[in-house]
Amino acid sequence: MTTQSKGTVPADGAPPAVELRDISKRFGAVQANREVSLSVRAGTVHGLVGENGAGKSTLMAILYGYYQADSGSIAIAGRPVQIKDSQQAIELGIGMVHQHFMLVDTLSCLDNVMLGAEPAFFLNAAKRKVRSQLQALMAETGLHVHLDALVGELPVGELQRLEILKALYRGAKILILDEPTAVLTPQETLQLFETLRRLRERGTTILLITHKLKEVMALCDAVTVMRAGQVVQTKSITETSPEDLAQAMVGRKVHLGRPEQAAAHDAAAPLRLRVQGLSLTAGQAVPLLQDIGLQLRAGEIVGVAGVSGNGQTELLEVLSGMRAPEAGQLELGGRRFDAASGPWLEPRSARECRLAHVPEDRHACGMVMSFPAWETAVLGYQDLPLYRSGPLGAAMNHERMKSEAAAMAERFDVRPRDMNIGSSKFSGGNQQKLVLAREIGQAPTVLLVGQPTRGVDIGAIEFIHQQLRALRDAGCAVLVVSSELDEILALSDRVIVMNGGRITGELDIAECTETRLGLLMAATAKEETNAAALQQA
């Protein structure tokens, strides 16, 4: 690994906005940060990259006073400081946009922004003040949110903007963003970057954690690579390249960019899944899905592109039987389901039809966080005879479960290998691998995948994509929902674009270009989501 210019970048006159020296932090058994030194020049965007669990979030959490470092020192604008809690960090002009949004679903955006920084004792007065300030801020930065909508009812993109507004409203001079683009669409990402550039112009210093090297190259002035809790290298952007960074992160060569050619698309391949006239509406008659019809054939990967919050989530829920639509027919594994007459598909019957599902929200859906990994590794397949033992299969076969889990960990390189560790203790990347391994394990004929690589590092992304392709080549029909255009383009043989609960376009991969898709998705997308949000608010 390149250790040249480890630590700080060559300093010019002005003191660095942020100076971390020899920060160490351990959680019980885990050394999250090991003598990390990092210095960020004022008014620049500084990238921070590294594998899942490399220690990026922890380091930033320490800078934000959310965790206390075991050892090491921090200096802000050259002044050594002790950051005991977030309050202090905020006073020092540090703002943080957390990886897992720090918002209260049951409160309005306005309340969320001012919480902790209310300008007046009585909320009405406070709201009036904050509202006007925010409107100014929104105009200035182009970050637009519905101040009165409940957070719980807004699409992630908007929440992301809300988080940034929150930080800026508190007068952040140093802005930390932890995987801000993990949940954004290209359009939203571009907007975000516009904003960030504008902020940089204003002299804001920005620390950006991301798994997407393209973004680093596009935005950052300097970038630091972490691995296993340590800084591997810090380079100015001009001296580095994606390949270089990737190698530094993973410690080996990583294949980036557009993959080998997609599978020859044949219309004769057997039909695995067909839906028609699918429609679903939320409580207050907000249309979520409108007259959706699609088909999946053996041996193809169909990508669903779209601004998150345009029905992809619901589509997956309906197709996997987690949610019953108002209308629509479904053909799957030789069985027909009609929402109008008779019961809709249920998760159980879905698996009987050999349909597997990798849910978007792995934390709430994909795994039981309080279970050890080996129990999570059979979730959904707990009824399979092979996992049962004893009379009438009343008992679970733990030996078998553990051995299978170990096998999954082995095949999908889940780290750590020890499947007795609690599911929550694995990084998102590894959690994702585990879920994928579980769902692919039973050789499904149809696989639904939501956000396959959200929050996952490039090493893992490469691997996961390989697995999905392999499955396709084995004759499985795969439906991939992703807000990453790169991913859609890298994986799909056919692309469906969703917008406002409708299918607004279907393209063969050959005719796909980022811009073209982008336009299809973006077309009035904002208005759509806003409308929905307003209706609900």
């Binding site: 959310y66 957390h98 897992h100 720090m102 918002l103 679903d105 902790g116 909320l123 929150k166």
Partner: protein, 326 residues
């Protein structure tokens, strides 16, 4: 005659509702901040004892109230120390406080007053008497205002003591506090997502302790009402499960002030009704078993709950001690 009945029933409803309401509001504030409070029963009991003891010893209503509030707050502090500071189990802590209260009140009572855990009755001048004391008798109210007005408004509504009106006023107070003030906003937030509040630079423990103090204040008032207003002395275990009913009312009210008021009023009313229905005779069937009538309020509650009140959503962080790990 029946207007008297209605009036007395109204009066009784308000009297019975008051301690439930104060307690339920106390629980509401604590639980909205994310801290379960099974200990309402114990706090109310100990507060009632403190109020009676202090009032009878000092011959001052103020002292009684102060003592009640102080004791209840102290118990809230213990709860906080165990559950907020040290992340102990909130339910166990509540159960423990109930046990200690049930035992210690009697032990102290015997030690101090040697009347088997009862406190000496407090004198009339120390007790909280009605706004218009005379009207606590329907007849007097009727004489003053005429039949219906007198019975229902005079006796039913105006014959109560300050704590009753305070309790109802506090419903609005708590609502305003939660929905319209800065600490209220933070309190609601900490019950839903403490990590967020922490990240926003507000101390989670401090907020929860504050909530627990308010909780103590209200429990204190509830207890004081029992011994300074409704009765004139303390007797062992006199709360007789009202703390749990208050808890039920708060959940019934979905952790919101106004619905909680409705739930408390419902319990109060059903109680007053059941009392007056005892000995009722159903033609043909004969006299209704008294146990059935005594069970009626609980039965109706269950039916109402099943029939009309939908899912109650608890604060998301309720019962989860907050640590800075995911």
């Amino acid at each position: 005659m029946d207007e008297i009945l209605i009036g007395s029933m109204l009066a009784s409803t308000l009297r019975v509702t008051t301690p439930l309401l104060l307690c339920a509001l106390a629980g509401l504030i604590s639980e909205r901040s994310g801290v379960i409070d099974i200990g309402l029963e114990g706090k109310m009991l100990f507060a009632a004892f403190a109020a009676a003891a202090a009032a009878s010893a000092s011959h001052s209503t103020g002292m009684g109230l102060a003592a009640a509030i102080a004791v209840a707050c102290a118990m809230s502090l213990i709860h906080g120390f165990a559950c907020v500071t040290h992340r102990g189990d909130q339910v166990v802590s509540g159960v423990a406080l109930n046990m200690v209260a049930a035992g210690l009140t009697v032990v102290l009572g015997i030690a101090w007053f040697a009347q088997g855990g009862q406190t000496p009755p407090i004198t009339a001048d120390v007790r909280l008497t009605g706004l218009i004391p005379g009207w606590s008798e329907p007849e007097a109210a009727v004489a003053a205002l005429g039949p219906w007005l007198g019975a229902i408004v005079g006796h039913g509504l105006l014959s109560h003591n300050l704590l009753v009106y305070l309790a109802f006023f506090l419903v609005a107070g708590v609502w305003f506090f939660l929905e319209r003030t800065k600490p209220g906003l933070r309190l609601r937030a900490v019950g839903e997502n403490p990590a967020m509040v922490d990240a926003a630079g507000v101390s989670v423990p401090r907020l929860r302790y504050a909530a627990l103090m308010l909780n103590g204040l209200l429990c204190g008032l509830a207890g004081a009402y029992l011994t300074l207003a409704q009765n004139a002395s303390f007797s062992p275990n006199m709360t007789a499960g009202r703390g749990y009913i208050a808890l039920a009312a708060m959940i019934f009210g979905k952790w919101k002030p106004l619905p909680t008021l409705a739930a408390c009023l419902l319990f109060g009313f059903l109680d007053a009704l059941a009392i007056r229905m005892q000995g009722a005779v159903i033609p043909g069937v004969g006299e209704v078993p008294v146990q059935l009538i005594q069970a009626l309020p609980y039965l109706l509650t269950v039916i109402l709950l099943a029939g009309f009140i939908g899912q109650a959503l608890a604060p998301k962080a309720l019962g989860r001690p907050y640590l800075k790990e995911r």
